[in-house]
């Protein structure tokens, strides 16, 4: 026998399988597939299904409510979208949090990271999946908003609608999801991350209320307040953008960086 083998194993009956695994025929897992898997994982649990269903139902319900009880002239597409965006901006970050944290809480990260031993790719897939859900949420809000605006009888159902304005709404949604993702990754615990996410703005406004000398400056740290201008129709000023910028640095970039480090490095138990 002249077979090249580094094994000193005793000759097995019938010849053992080769000691080197031939992986040349195996293609790596494409990112698009990981994204599809992450989107499925968001939908296939009761918590996820309910969250998505509630997001959709509440968004539509508030728009129908405004159409029924509101002034005729309020039934414009942009007004309705703005009404729907209140519950959406509230719930989309929770979706981002769950997308990351359920892997740790339910310990499925053990399986996820063994099937894909490149955590950066998994994290990237989760971020893309969350953003796609945000886009989906806008579609869910925009289509009924358009229908209700058309039948609502407002003088100009399409008032204030422009690409720039819709882009701002989209950006606000994306920021909300990114905020959730960042808190989720930094804390790796759904309950903690959700509480922190809802507590932070309240605490900031309390601080602003007590410490009146600070109340002018608080907008630099209060991303909820600063990003709410994105839903308005007034032109954004440079300082509006600067306020959002510092808020993003503090509440998205910083926890996002900590979270990325934790996801990539932490021991999965």
């Amino acid at each position: 026998m002249t077979a090249i083998s580094t094994s000193n194993a005793s000759p097995a009956l019938g010849g053992a399988a080769p000691d080197v695994l031939d992986v040349s025929g195996t293609r790596p897992i494409p990112l698009t597939r990981l994204i599809r898997v992450e989107m499925r994982k968001m939908r296939d649990t009761r918590a996820g299904t309910w969250l998505l269903a509630i997001i959709g139902v509440v968004a539509v319900a508030v728009m129908v409510g405004v159409s029924v009880f509101g002034d005729k002239d309020d039934r414009t597409f942009f007004n309705l979208l703005g009404v729907a965006s209140v519950p959406l901006s509230f719930m989309l970050p929770v979706l981002g949090i769950l997308l990351i944290c359920s892997e740790w809480g339910q310990r499925t990260a053990l399986v996820t990271f063994t099937l894909t031993p490149h955590r950066g790719r998994v994290l990237a897939a989760k971020v893309v999946a969350a953003l796609l859900f945000a886009l989906g949420a806008i579609a869910v809000a925009a289509i009924p908003a358009a229908v209700l605006a058309l039948v609502g009888g407002a003088g100009d159902p399409w008032a204030d609608v422009s690409v720039g304005i819709l882009g701002r709404v989209l950006l606000a949604f994306v920021l909300g999801v990114a905020w959730g993702l960042a808190f989720g990754a930094a804390l790796l615990n759904s309950a903690l991350a959700i509480v922190a996410y809802f507590l932070v703005p309240t605490l900031i406004s309390i601080v602003g209320g007590i410490w009146s000398s600070l109340s002018d400056k608080i907008i630099w740290f209060d991303l909820n307040q600063s990003s709410s201008t994105l839903y308005g129709t007034d032109a954004m000023t440079g300082s509006d953008w600067a306020h959002i910028g510092t808020g993003v640095l503090l509440w998205i970039v910083l926890p996002g960086a900590i979270g990325t480090w934790r996801v990539l490095r932490s021991e999965v138990k």
Partner: protein, 304 residues
Amino acid sequence: MISFENVSKRYGGFTAVDDVSFVARSGRVTGFLGPNGAGKSTSMRIMAGLTLPDRGVATIGGHRYADIPNPGRHVGILLDASAQHAGRTGREVLTITAMTMGLPESHVDEMLETVGLTPAEAKRRVKNYSLGMRQRLGIANALIGKPSVLILDEPANGLDPAGIHWMRGLLRDFAAEGGTVLLSSHLLHEVEMIADDMVLIGRGKIVAQGAKHELLRTAGTFARAEDPALLAKVLADAGISAAPSGDGGLRTEAEPVAIGRAAAAAGVVLVELRPAEGAGLEEMFLQLTASDARETVTHEGAAA
């Protein structure tokens, strides 16, 4: 083939895995045996690329795990049967794994059948599963990519005797087709039933390894007399060293015939005389891991 070369991992001041080297060969079922906290799970996590070792190299078929593209197609891993989303159905768990690996849904049905989960059970959520059902689901999850290497951490945990019997058949067949199987257990009995080769670990260090029958062979003879103290004295007089073992028994390296002769010559009534097979291995396991186990083993054994 799974290979561990001088792998060490420390957590703060605690050395979980201490210069561990061993090989799990293809075509064999290798049992990784040790008390709880001995370093089995840490070693398996290092194999799966979840934990980076401080020193040493762990390879599977010559590759580091993270370098294997779509690793589930080559290496099936079950690290913790409970690490599944409680809200997903068993079928959904397998569907996600199949989807990640790029496999058709038909593999899911095939695997459910292989591990004996009925369609009705597969529709239930994992939180309603018994530990045994979770183990079956975890094994299906490991097998679904048709791998040639299997790494299973405590797979027999929670299985009933029939389940263990089933798993033995499954793993035997897998190895017979040239596959490599490494399974861990803290129960000697399980490993003894399933494995061809054994690696014993205690306090992060390998304490013994080899083919099961070779490890068994070192066990010597077990003898029990009507009057244990008298037998001990007789054997000592005959120059046969023996150690107390079990309930009033003695274990010795001597052949059974030598014990029988010595007893007959002195008129000692033997009630048991046999090769100290399982009991001997158990004793070795207890001895080798005595200092690491939480319970102290009272009897001293002959040198291993």
